[in-house]
Amino acid sequence: MYQWDFGWVWTYRAALIAAAWVTIKLNVVVLVLGSVLGMIIAACRGSRFAVVRYLAIAYVDVFRTIPILVLLIWAFFCIPVLVRGAQFTPWTCAVAVLSINLSAFAAEIIRAGIEAVPTTLVEGGLSCGLSQRQTLRFVVLPIAIRNMIPPLVGQYINSIKLSVLASVIAVPELLQKTTDLASQVYRPLEFYTALAVAFLVLLLPGTIWSRRLETKEHVERRSAET
């Protein structure tokens, strides 16, 4: 029987907390940048100009399709070879790739949220003499945001989980530090278990919240349609 000894984890708690801090900082930056970028892409998808629309569609399709790990490695190792002098730090690469990946998914969620607003409600705004702008502000956006929140929260959680991939380009975040320490003191079971538990504790509330949002929104919308 394996003899668990979490004392090792406790011993290295300072290094782990520092790594957790990197993970948190990384994710905050990615969530903000990815969301803003997602809104811009979603707006481009609704552009009057066909070229802008198609570029936005291409962006979404490309970055939703390429595996994020491949993109990370490509950005970190290939770009410096292809473009002379373009060597980004691991941090910059991780922020850029994770933000772009999140923005592609977020753009789709935002677009779907707006498109899901029933035409009858939009025309209700116009029927009552509201301008296009007022209809957008008072009718479309409030309903669209309600549609978007549950899938966006889910996507945020997904993005946070994916952020551990930054370890492959040596961003000193949680997984990278954990791997480092586990091999140093030869205690992989304890360290990886601690890491799994840490993510569980951090993200489970969010997961539960997103499910509750989904059911509540779902019930509300269903009863509104009957």
């Binding site: 009858t120 209700g124 029927s127 009552c128 003499g129 509201l130 919308r221 009863s223």
Partner: protein
């Protein structure tokens, strides 16, 4: 072109449209349609599903853009989709489209105060007073703070009618507004429309209930494939129809 038959007694028709045409990509559509209505007149549009009644209402409301034709309100021609025409909608021309629903994220009261504040520029207090008054008429006031999804289908339809009438328009474009109402409320809403016309309002209405059409309207238009096939007083059109399609339509109703 179908003949433009004038049924106006006054000099200036209050609502008139000439040569309105709308074609969809599939070749179907409406028009050319022309008609003149005077103040206080209630005109009902009859016709089979897909004959272009709703399209005509949507064009008159400025929701859809016609390919050709003009609309005049109180003798003034309005360029379709112009800012002036946009300004009329809601305030002067009340519109209830088919299947209209209340806004689900706003309370009953807010459903009425939003256009009052945004369109008429009333203060919050004024808007709430006026909205409450209108909700009272539709017996919705006790639930004014609730969200519309707690209401029955008929109550939601009443709320949509209230949302239109609270702006006190002078013209009404109504597309099947009694479809979800029980007989009592159908009666009351019909009464409200009649009263509206008595005070000089002009109404264009779509309804498939012929007894309602007969009682409510003083001009009936029968449409086939987007154009007017027959029109006249309700007694003339409904009791002695000339067109054989119309005869079958009435027989089936």
């Amino acid at each position: 072109m179908p003949e433009v038959r004038s049924n106006t007694t006054g000099s200036v028709p209050s609502l008139a449209w000439t040569g309105l045409v709308k074609r969809f990509a599939n070749g179907r559509g409406t028009g050319p349609v022309s008609l003149q209505l005077r103040a206080g007149q209630v005109c009902s549009l009859l016709g089979a599903n897909g004959c272009g009644k709703s399209t005509l209402i949507r064009i008159l409301a400025g929701i859809d853009r016609a390919d050709a034709g003009t609309i005049s309100v109180d003798g003034r021609d309005w360029t379709l989709g112009s800012p002036e025409a946009e300004g009329l909608r809601g305030r002067v021309i009340g519109v209830i489209l088919q299947g209209a629903e209340p806004w689900p994220h706003l309370s009953l009261l807010e459903n009425l105060t939003l256009p009052l504040e945004s369109k008429l520029g009333l203060s919050k207090g004024e808007a709430e007073d006026r909205a409450a008054e209108e909700l009272e008429r539709f017996e919705l006031l006790p639930r004014s703070r609730a969200l519309p999804h707690v209401l029955s289908g008929g109550m939601r339809q009443r709320l949509v009618i209230a949302r239109c009438l609270v702006l006190r328009p002078r013209f009404l474009l109504l597309d099947e507004i009694t479809s979800a109402l029980d007989p009592e409320w159908t009666e009351r809403v019909t009464g409200r429309v009649a009263e509206f016309a008595t005070k000089g309002g002009t109404v264009v209405s779509i309804s498939h209930r012929l007894n309602l059409v007969r009682r409510m309207s003083d001009w009936v238009v029968y449409m086939v494939d987007g154009v007017i096939r027959e029109q006249g007083s309700p007694e003339r059109v409904l009791d002695c129809p000339e067109d054989k399609d119309l005869r079958r339509f009435i027989l089936n109703a």
